[in-house]
């Protein structure tokens, strides 16, 4: 084989490896609360927010609440204000990473009950 073709082959393989790695790092699967310990980075976490745990610090626009699914409960911190209709939300999808017992959400999708069935909204794109 010529030097050129070997070089091309190496480049192509490196490119594929790089792409696959970036791919794996950036997919964001849906997980349950009990999986957070093992697979807690970059995930979609569907939760039922417990309305009596909701705290909102208006000076920093930080929303803190506890949410649960059928496998457990977790505290969520969301720094981008309170999404519309959050009080009425029966389910939210928090997108972010888990660290030391707290789920830090970067984005939050709010699903609203009854009237808004099936409609989702992205808070603060």
């Amino acid at each position: 084989m010529k030097l050129g073709s070997i070089l091309t082959l190496v480049l192509v393989l490196a490119g594929i490896a790089f792409t696959v790695r970036a791919f794996v790092n950036n997919t964001s699967p849906y997980v349950k609360v009990e999986q957070l310990q093992t697979r807690g980075q970059n995930v979609h976490l569907p939760l039922k927010p417990l309305q009596d745990t909701v705290q909102f610090d208006i000076k920093t626009m930080t929303l803190t609440f506890e949410g649960e699914d059928e496998t457990g409960r977790v505290k969520v911190v969301y720094p981008k204000g309170k999404p519309n209709n959050f009080e009425a939300a029966s389910q939210v999808v928090a997108i972010g990473s888990y660290k030391d017992g707290v789920f830090y959400a970067e984005e939050m999708l709010v699903k609203c009950p009854s009237k808004y069935q099936g409609e989702t909204q992205t808070a603060n794109r």
Binding site: F18, F23, T27, K59, K82, N84, E119, T122, N124
Partner: protein
């Protein structure tokens, strides 16, 4: 609007007639006139449909579903016209309109290819009109039961406020001009495979390939400007599925036009070009399916309405049918196609650089294609839907852009046949030195992140190398500059995107009414909201509400007015943001919101059971009992808490009825004024336990009980966005120049390829060098040995 249906169905039938007559005109050439007439008729039907829709929008025919959904009385006439492409039906119609326009030109310029090209092309229009026949923009608004008193409605639901801005008038027509242009190379590719003829094909399709890539690219850039100026997340490009589905067709078209360049100049890529040129149209169909069918609704910020079932079936059939037909035809013809000319390059050649360019464009397109389809793929294999984060595309494109920049810089200085490394480097020295100097300047200006700095230097290298080539050629052959100008424009735009994203600084600034805040080296102060003029106390309900903020540093002071509006009519995406952008020559200060402005208040509170009495700060409140008003569970329903309030300073106690009301935006407490100017309202209530929490706000001498606005701003410092605005117009200019040049070539090139006599003057004909390639009969035509094409 029965006439609307008639017009659309007439379009379907005329397109069908045109396709049929073109197909039969092979045996009976006399039929061609009829086929042309039918096509012109189909175009007239499309124009009539578009005209009717605009007329309906302008005259306010709110008995039509489309007009009701996307227009309203308060819009200016131009926005009413722009509503013609706000919805799905309207954008299909716009697509059909541009297809018709190009069809008229194609019919007159396709020469010997007319019959085949127009049959395929007419087929696309036929199917599109069929979709419009089922999902009609002229469908009547369904009458609700029981019917309201006023029918049809006097006013529409209205254009989505996100769309109500000047870019709406420009961006969709241009990008659809690009989308529709993709169909011409597709039709040519199918026709070429059908006829098994690839030389005349290459010459004829070339201006169209360049034109479609140019228009689509410019449309994408306009979309980016729109996003930057109005969406408020501080960037031009977000790798959203809708953006991606116009990005990968564009890349393949760019790859295809470079493939044509290799075929015409060097006799290479003969077999792959028909496939490369057919792909963009197929991928655009796929993208349309992805974004219109609701398949990606969960992972995109754009909102989609599902298509009508029959229309969706036609779209899906059109997509699957054309993909299978194209791939099948290409695979079947593959062994009959002429072999490409042998590789005669030595060392570093332009041919190799262009080939690398094609490979790199295809790779980027494939990655975006797979990434965009990923949610569908995971769903198809039965897993929970997974979305890719936009960061994926940025990471993958870092090494990609390094190699692409080098290829782009090298292509204009290398010769087709190749040169040794030394002389190649010698020619690049000046550009390289200039690029390194630029890198140093950036470094000293404070742009120091190493990978981004490296990429910026390389892209600057591309720009300088192409500028150098333009400089050398500007006196001798001005028409050949198109491709080079395009590449300079692209390099500038990419440089701007990388600098403004890679070196952006952003900070959250939360401003409290009445207090100064310090951030980004400025002092920030909230001045007020203009919406208070129209909606006192509820400024966010004004569509044109501007939040006035004063920004001051030690030597300058200015007021910015980002817009924030909460659309009460829509359940989803009802926060409408329009950022304020202050531009300097070297950077933008971009002021947007990371959350809706909110009211902060610390009221006096008192929780009381029914018939209970309590006192807070001198106010004695007695909770008398609950009442309701309006129908339970509907908008306007009120839960009222009757109360008697007394205060030592007042002559007599007052009875008040504060209530909470169900509105489109949720349950809202409605305050009631007290004699001393304070207001009482209901905080929380529990009807089952007969418990109410009363709140007192605006209490005299208690400033913390007065509501104050909290403005959550997200502020970006974005360097060198000016390059993003300079690049695309250059690319447009270069692309149009190249289109004109290649359109002029068609006459000579086609005549040469078909063996007819030449119109004067005769172009230079170059025999392929070295041994003659097998089965390539015609000599290869070189229009200009130096021209890099575009």
């Amino acid at each position: 609007m029965t006439i609307g249906y008639v017009v659309v169905w007439a379009g379907v039938l005329l397109a069908l007639a045109s396709v049929g007559l073109y197909l039969m005109s092979g045996r009976r050439p006399a039929l061609r006139r009829g086929a042309r007439g039918a096509f012109v008729g189909a175009f007239a039907a499309i124009v009539a449909a578009e005209g009717l829709l605009m007329y309906a929008l302008l005259t306010g025919r709110y008995d039509l579903q489309y007009v009701y959904s996307f227009s309203e009385e308060s819009l200016t006439p131009l926005f009413k016209i722009a509503s013609a492409w706000a919805g799905q039906e309207g954008s299909f119609l716009l697509w059909a309109f541009w297809l018709g326009v190009y069809g008229l030109i194609l019919m007159r310029t396709a020469g010997g290819y007319e019959r085949w090209v127009m049959a395929v092309y007419g087929g696309v229009i036929l199917l599109l009109m069929a979709i419009l026949a089922f999902q009609s923009p002229f469908a009547p608004l369904p009458k609700p039961d029981p019917a309201p008193a006023v029918w049809p409605p006097r006013d529409g639901f209205g254009l989505n406020p996100v769309l109500e801005n000047p870019w709406m008038k420009i961006h969709p027509p241009i990008i659809f001009a690009g989308f529709a242009a993709l169909t011409v190379p597709f039709a040519y590719a199918i026709a070429a495979l059908w006829r098994n003829e690839y030389h005349e094909f290459a010459v004829r399709v070339r201006p169209w390939a360049i034109y479609s890539a140019t228009m689509l690219g410019f449309g994408l850039a306009l979309g980016g400007y729109w996003a930057y100026e109005t969406l408020g997340w501080g960037g031009f490009w977000a790798w959203d599925p809708v953006e991606n589905s116009s990005y990968f067709p564009w890349l393949f078209m760019a790859a295809g036009l470079h493939g044509l360049m290799l075929q015409i100049n060097r006799g290479r890529m003969v077999r792959w070009n028909p496939l490369l040129l057919a792909l963009p149209h197929l991928l655009f169909l796929y993208g349309t399916f992805l974004t219109r069918s609701g398949a990606l609704a969960e992972v995109s910020v754009h909102s989609f309405v599902n298509m009508e079932t029959n229309a969706l079936k036609i779209l899906l059939g059109m997509l699957i049918g054309s993909v299978l037909f194209t791939l099948g035809l290409w695979a079947w013809r593959y062994r009959q196609m002429p072999l490409p000319a042998p590789d005669q390059t030595k060392g570093f050649s332009r041919e190799a650089a262009v080939r690398w360019g094609i490979v790199l464009l295809s790779i980027s397109a494939l990655i975006s294609l797979v990434g965009t389809s990923w949610p569908l793929i995971t769903k198809a294999v039965g897993k929970q839907m997974e979305a890719l984060k936009p960061e994926f595309y940025n990471q993958v494109h870092i090494p990609w852009i390094v190699i692409t920049a080098i290829a782009l810089a090298a292509a204009p200085i290398l010769t087709w046949r190749g040169m040794c490394l030394d002389s190649a480097l010698e020619r690049l020295t000046k550009s390289w030195l200039a690029a390194v100097a630029t890198g140093f300047v950036l470094f000293f200006l404070g742009f120091r992140e190493p990978i981004t700095l490296l990429i910026c230097t390389l892209v600057a290298f591309t720009a300088y190398a192409n500028l150098g080539a333009i400089w050398r050629r500007v006196r001798t052959s001005r028409l050949t500059l198109g491709g080079l100008i395009t590449h300079v424009g692209l390099a500038l735009a990419i440089l701007g995107l990388i600098l403004s994203y890679g070196y952006e600084r952003k900070e959250r600034v939360v401003i409290l009414q009445g207090q100064d805040t310090f951030a980004m080296g400025y002092k920030w102060r909230y001045l007020g909201m203009t919406g208070n003029e129209k909606f006192p106390g509820e400024p966010l309900a004004d569509k044109f509400n501007r939040v006035r903020i004063e920004i001051a540093s030690h030597d300058e002071k200015f007021v910015v007015e980002p817009r924030f509006y909460q659309d009460q009519r829509r359940e989803t995406g009802n926060n409408v943001v329009w950022p304020a952008i202050i531009r300097w020559w070297d950077h933008d200060l971009y002021v947007s919101f990371f959350a809706p402005p909110q009211i902060d208040v610390s009221p006096l509170t008192l929780a009381l059971h029914e018939k209970e009495k309590g006192t807070v700060e001198g106010y004695t409140i007695e909770f008398l009992g609950f009442q309701t008003g309006g129908a339970m569970g509907t908008e306007g329903f009120r839960a009222i808490a009757k109360a008697r309030v007394s205060h030592p300073d007042w002559k007599a106690p007052v009875e008040v009825e504060p209530f909470r009301m169900v509105t489109g935006g949720g349950v809202v407490p409605i305050p009631v004024p007290l004699p001393d100017g304070a207001q009482i309202l209901i905080g929380q209530m529990d009807v089952n336990r007969r418990l109410v929490q009363f709140q007192l706000v605006m209490v005299p001498n208690k400033p913390e009980t007065a509501p104050r606005w909290v403005i959550p701003l997200e502020v970006y410092y974005k360097p060198f966005t000016i390059l993003v605005w300079l690049g695309p117009p250059l690319t447009l200019l270069g692309g149009l120049l190249a289109t004109l040049r290649r359109a002029r070539d068609v006459r000579y090139g086609a005549a040469r390829a078909t063996g007819e006599s030449f119109p004067a003057p005769q172009p230079r004909v170059v025999k392929p060098r070295g041994r003659t390639p097998r089965r390539v009969k015609e000599p290869v035509i070189a229009h200009s040995e130096q021209g890099s094409g575009g």
